[in-house]
């Protein structure tokens, strides 16, 4: 009875197009943003900020990119980590070699560089789908990481093969503390998520979904398959690249190219599957799930088996549980947690009635 929509209706197409239709939803979003922007930086501990919230937001951004390619455009990708690496190393090199470049500008340009790489690898992949495309994305994944590793220029010829992220400087102010880093990440992710939502709900998203669902019909309507798919590749890689840059600068601090390996790509893939394909919310839910599950499992195992649990056993168990979850979600709820959330909201709208 609280989540009623009676009395709320659109009187113009502009209103009907809004991303959040119900007033309750809009209020909820404002509250969420307020908590995120103001409440959390003050209240949350450094551990929570550095180890949980920042990676959650950053990986959600990458998952968004993956979702754009997979959920909206229907292209199966196993190469998101490669584009993250491209973005991360691009950002590092930009700040290294372009004196005084603003951090946000460097991040955005890194995204663009990742987008160009995405287009390069996307071009040969335009006429293929499904498994063929997956293999092509593996090509991008392995090649990018190899290139970044082998050509020392990318790592500034560091003998250890590791790069150290520089400080984040915004308007002359060094964002060094976890809370400050979190704010930068929050701002960038929130804006990019909004842009993604706008694209998905508008003509761009319809174009992607049309090409995904029935490319012959899409062509017959005048959509260029080439342009639409390339656009999806480019935008998706942009998001992965920005995410990668933030991953390095706001979370890892140090990294080597092989850290952006196929395991990371699989994790991103799982975030999208569990979170919900083709939804913006799904990226955030999936990211949270994949990040928090190992934490909970650890606590769980320690509770049951005591402190001396072999790390290899827990990681193997984790693997099994992840795999099982993927299968279970694909069988029972292919639209993921986002769909479960939607069903919950629909029940709430009717509550206390059943239908």
């Amino acid at each position: 009875m609280f989540y009623r929509e009676s009395g709320q209706y659109s009187t113009s197409y502009g209103q009907d197009r809004q991303l959040l239709q119900l007033r309750q939803d809009r209020v909820g979003m404002v509250v969420l943003l307020a908590i995120g922007l103001v409440g959390i930086p003050f209240a949350a501990s450094d551990y929570w900020l550095s180890a949980i919230l920042i990676p959650w937001l950053v990986l959600a951004l990458v998952a968004l990119g993956q979702n754009i390619l997979m959920g909206y455009a229907g292209q199966l990708s196993l190469g998101s980590a490669g584009f993250m690496a491209a973005g991360a190393f691009a950002c590092y090199n930009l700040i290294l070699r372009v004196p005084g470049i603003p951090f946000v500008a460097a991040v955005l340009i890194s995204g663009l560089i990742a987008a160009v790489v995405g287009i390069l690898f996307g071009l040969p992949s335009l006429r293929i789908r499904g498994l063929y495309l997956a293999v092509a994305t593996l090509a991008s994944q392995f090649f990018i990481v190899w290139a970044l590793d082998k050509f020392g220029w990318f790592k500034n010829y560091d003998s250890s093969g590791i790069i150290n992220a520089q400080a984040i400087v915004v308007f002359g102010h060094t964002m060094g503390t976890p809370a400050e880093k979190y704010l930068v990440v929050f701002a960038i992710v929130a804006v990019l998520a909004l842009l993604a939502a706008n694209m998905a709900a508008g003509s761009v998203g319809r174009g992607w979904m049309a090409v995904r669902d029935m490319d012959v019909a899409a062509e017959a309507m005048g959509l260029s398959l080439l342009r639409t798919k390339l656009q999806a590749f480019a935008i998706s890689s942009f998001y992965c690249g920005v995410g990668g840059a933030l991953y390095l600068f706001a979370y890892l601090q140090t990294a080597e190219p092989t850290g952006f390996n196929i395991e990371l790509s699989f994790r991103i893939l799982f975030m999208v599957i569990i979170g919900g394909l083709g939804t913006i919310l799904g990226a955030f839910l999936g990211s949270a799930f994949i990040l928090l599950l190992p934490v909970f499992l650890n606590i769980f195992f320690h509770a049951i088996f005591g402190a001396a649990v072999d790390a290899t056993i827990t990681s193997a168990l984790e693997q099994v549980i992840f795999g099982v979850l993927i299968i279970v979600f694909l069988i029972y709820e292919p639209l993921g947690l986002a769909r479960l959330w939607q069903i919950t909201k629909e029940r709430l709208r009717l509550w206390p009635f059943k239908y």
Partner: protein, 297 residues
Amino acid sequence: MNFFFEVLVGGLLSGVMYSLVALGFVLIYKASGVFNFAQGAMVFFAVLSFVGFMELGLNFWVALPVTVALMVVVGVVTERLVLRPLVGQSEDTLLMATIGLAFVVEGVAQLAWGVKVRRLELGIADEPMGWLADNADILVSQLDVAAGLVAGIMVAVLALIFSKTKVGRGLRAVADDNAAALSVGIPLKQILVVVWATAGVVALVAGMMWGARSGVQFALVGVALKAMPVLIIGGFTSVPGVIVAGLIVGAAEKMAEVYLGPYVGGGIEGWLPYVLAVLFLLVRPEGLFGEKIIRRV
């Protein structure tokens, strides 16, 4: 010149190994239309279990059928719990499910047998063949040659089974159309058991060859990823295609590594097969021997 031949032959034989792994993929795909991403994990699980059983005291010739039985169980369980609930879903969904399956199998393998790297002795030394070395000054590993022979025999046997026997015909019918096969009385369940058993045997053999060569360790799973480009180049449904493609990939990889590698610090074999596959897709998407895909509007 001799060196060139060594590299070439070494690459070809290495490619045969890839083909062995890829064969398992082809079998499952031919029979159920599903690309089993978990095949690599199953190869690993198969050989790991085999070695594990022997460590537990089982004799080589006892451990072999026991492992095969285990792989059949794995296959049947996969078919019931993963594939059957997803019947009719899109190809992408099935692929993602098998990715999940790969994680499960890998995790179970490590839980069951631990992470220790194991050796596998097959009685064939990974040493140059004596008479070739002495007479032609070419160094070719005995193990690689043995693997080549084994692969050749397997392919021949499989090809015969597919084309000549009733079971083989049933397999092809099932691959084409499950419902139609059922309606003409083909025992679907039994056929699928046969398919998974065969794939399990192939996985075990491939694993044994690889394991003898490089030790039974987790990295084996990564090798199986290489089978994907092999499938693309060869064509998903073609057994001979897989062999030829494996040879091409193995040879190309080795040659590139040896001749180009030093200029770029090595590691080319990490990505070359995939880039090769992409280039192939541009020119011939159905692979060398695959069936052309026609879409009706």
